[in-house]
């Protein structure tokens, strides 16, 4: 099996999707000849032509409006937003249009073919306009699916699933891992299920839940915790909306403790939703309050980024606090 980094895995997934189905189109700012500022769409224009892989003018609301129309027509657009921080001009098209297209028409029309890719997250000295994790902004929107991969293998399998999914999917890619995360990735076509979390490690004392780049942080924290004899169960949520409550609840019923972590600010972040739902379902089994390890309630900083980020030490301390409550 070849080794790929996450960008290669994503590029490979797009290549497979475009080769297989000529209705699949890739576009966005600098996506065409240049292959995207991160090169996720490299060589696609060469292979599939300028009508199927192209640059758009610099207008996110237009990119997604255009993509919505294309999807409604029956094409399968994969639109790139250059940074997740720049997805907000398209917020109306996504939240009021993409998400409600099928519902409002009684399923006469839908934009299920649409996938929106965007690099997200911090740890790259990007300051508050190249570091945001906006998943929670969208997770309040029925009709959208939101997926975040943690490594190249997951990225390829989840992206292929997202493209073929009959619902519109926001696919947030942890850009800090684009080149940093490498691993074996099958060359052939495969899909990983949407809507299903994955227990990446079993344990008995405490459950840790995260997604995307934060899974690496969790793994490091777990190493520290296990050295202290704390047995951790780790869950990668993978799909943020609709999320797999059952898998998390089942784990917490067993461990009695839960730590959830994400980079985005705490207030209104998706950890809040998980905590709210799980305290409801597992109330009598909880040994300690559900803990959240998140960014501060501030814009994403630059010089003090390290201090801001929910790193492995902060997660480890939360695990300790949870177990010693």
């Amino acid at each position: 099996m070849p080794t790929m980094n996450m960008l290669q895995a994503i590029n490979n997934a797009l290549d497979i999707a475009m080769a297989e189905d000529e209705r699949v189109l890739c576009f966005g700012e600098d996506v065409g000849g240049f292959g995207g500022v991160f090169r996720a769409t490299s060589h696609l224009q060469e292979r599939y032509g300028k009508t199927r892989c192209f640059n758009t003018p610099l207008v996110e609301q237009g990119i997604i409006g255009f993509a919505n129309g294309l999807a409604a027509q029956g094409s399968v657009p994969v639109a790139e937003i250059q940074f997740a921080d720049y997805i907000f001009p398209a917020f109306d098209q996504i939240v009021n249009e993409t998400a409600k297209f099928r519902y409002r028409s009684g399923d006469l029309f839908n934009v299920g073919g649409l996938t929106i890719r965007a690099p997200y997250g911090g740890g790259i000295s990007g300051g508050h306009y190249h570091s945001q994790s906006p998943e929670a902004y969208f997770a309040h929107t029925p009709g959208l699916k939101i997926v975040v991969p943690r490594n190249p293998y997951e990225a390829k399998g989840l992206l292929l699933a997202a493209i073929r999914e009959p619902d519109p999917v926001l696919f947030f890619e942890p850009k800090r891992l684009y080149r940093a995360s490498t691993g074996e990735v099958p060359e052939e076509d495969y899909q990983l299920p949407l809507g299903e979390a994955e227990v990446t490690k079993e344990g008995t004392d405490v459950t840790l839940v995260g997604w995307g780049a934060q899974m690496e942080v969790i793994d490091k924290a777990v190493e520290l915790a296990e050295k202290e004899g704390i047995s951790c169960e780790v869950i990668d949520l993978r799909t943020i909306l609709p999320w797999d409550e059952d898998t998390v609840a089942e784990s917490v019923l067993k461990t009695g403790r839960l730590v959830v972590t994400h980079e985005a600010p705490r207030t209104g972040g998706f950890a809040g939703e998980i905590a709210a739902a799980i305290q409801d379902r597992c109330f009598l089994y909880l040994e300690s309050p559900i803990m959240r390890v998140t960014g501060l309630d501030t814009p994403f900083p630059l010089t003090l980024e390290k201090e801001y980020l929910p790193d492995h030490l902060k997660v480890f301390e939360a695990v300790r606090a949870s177990v010693n409550y």
């Binding site: 003018p57 207008v59 609301q61 919505n68 129309g69 409600k100 028409s105 399923d107 006469l108």
Partner: protein, 404 residues
């Protein structure tokens, strides 16, 4: 970029260098302007257009009356703009996609949406294709290639560009026409749509109904330029301004626009100068922001009257026929209305279907909890209570009608 001439003194342009004329064929007397040529429009098609205009007018009058009686929660009229909307629709292939704003029911009438179909949407009953989820006038028909209306303004404009791009790739020779008001043209989405259409050479017709108002806001507070048409220059796009109350001009211009779009894959902007004769909607009262005199002046330019005179001149229509048609339509609307308002609401399950292609476990759970709650308080939720048991109340194939 064809950057052209040099100048050596700092001269500013302000757009006064050119002006955008208005294309007119038919005057208010129903005869042709001097020098105007009648577009080839056969009797049958002319009658189909005219009848659609009358039907739209009658439907609007009756439904606004029904709204005033409290039978309907909300309504919006096309009144005064029938020629613009129906003239454009008639110039299209019936399989072309239409993406409308909300005041274009005339296009649906023209394409054959039945009074029954209108009523079911207006009353959001179990036969509404939209399953009672949107406010009245948010029609849609897959069969008639008419995209379901969405309230947020201008969002359909870049969507039309995308839809038409897909049509171009599909190579079926079809195009998309998107309607919008001069108010909606102020949204950022409009600018995105035109620019992308020009850059990507998309067969889309941007049809602006410049009816002078966006709710209470007059066009003069909407933009400083001479209408919406000059914006086409910003994107290098073909553009024409037409008298929107002139059925022949609208028809002919749209025909030509369609040719440019489909044969050359070039977008076209049409600005139809017209007037919103009625209130913005049933919630609005225009007396607060415009004069009766102004309204009267426009009432005299009624597009239906103008076409009627032309039709009668041609011998293609007469007053007798008109009277019969009007009476028949009024009757049909009223009868259909009565049936539609009595039809049951969509089933309770429709609250959670179509959010996703399949109902998610979470939503199923929420529906189950809701059902348990309604069982406890059936009287508090009469609409929901009647369909707790889907087998009993659901007309099974009802919802499939408009889709095929």
């Amino acid at each position: 970029m064809s950057t052209t001439r040099d100048i050596h003194v700092p001269e500013f342009l302000a757009g006064d260098e050119f002006s955008i004329p208005t294309y007119r064929v038919l005057n208010q007397e129903g005869t042709l302007y001097e020098g105007a040529e009648e577009p080839p429009l056969e009797r049958e098609l002319a009658r189909r257009i005219y009848q659609a205009m009358i039907t739209t007018r009658v439907l609007d009058e009756r439904m606004m009356a029904a709204q005033r009686q409290g039978r309907l929660s909300f309504y919006m009229q096309c009144t005064g703009e029938e020629a613009a909307v129906i003239g454009a629709s008639a110039a299209l292939d019936d399989a072309d996609m239409i993406m409308a704003q909300y005041r274009e029911q005339g296009a649906l009438v023209y394409r054959g949406f039945t009074i029954d179909e209108f009523m079911n949407q207006l009353f959001g009953n179990e036969l509404d294709y939209g399953k009672g989820r949107q406010m009245p006038i948010h029609y849609g028909s897959r069969k008639l290639h008419y995209m379901t209306i969405s309230s947020p303004l201008a969002t359909q404009i870049p969507q039309a560009t995308g839809y038409a791009y897909g049509q171009k790739l599909a190579g079926d020779g079809l195009c998309t026409t998107v309607f919008f008001g001069e108010g909606a043209a102020s949204e950022g989405d409009f600018h995105a749509a035109l620019n992308m259409a020009a850059v990507h050479e998309v067969p889309v017709i941007f049809f602006c109904r410049n009816n002078g108002y966006a709710i209470s806001t007059p066009a003069i507070e909407q933009f400083a330029a001479d209408g919406v048409a000059p914006r086409a220059f910003g994107y290098r796009m073909h553009v024409i301004r037409v008298d929107g109350n002139d059925i022949l001009a609208v028809y002919r211009a749209t025909q030509e626009a369609r040719r440019i779009a489909v044969e050359h894959n070039k977008p076209v902007l049409i600005e139809a100068m017209t007037y919103r004769l009625a209130a913005h909607s049933s919630s609005d009262d225009p007396s607060g922001y415009r004069s009766r005199k102004e309204e009267e002046a426009w009432r005299e330019k009624d597009p239906i009257l103008r076409m009627k005179r032309w039709m009668i001149d041609k011998g293609w229509w007469d007053e007798e026929e008109e009277k019969t048609l009007q009476e028949q339509l009024r009757r049909e609307v009223l009868e259909t209305l009565k049936q539609a308002e009595k039809r049951p609401p969509p089933p309770l399950d429709s609250l959670v279907t179509d959010v996703y292609a399949e109902v998610t476990p979470g939503l199923q759970h929420q529906l189950d909890a809701l059902k348990a709650h309604i069982r406890r308080y059936p009287d508090a939720y009469p609409k929901g209570a009647r369909s707790l048991d889907p087998e009993v109340s659901r007309t099974d194939d009802a919802n499939d009608k408009g889709e095929s």
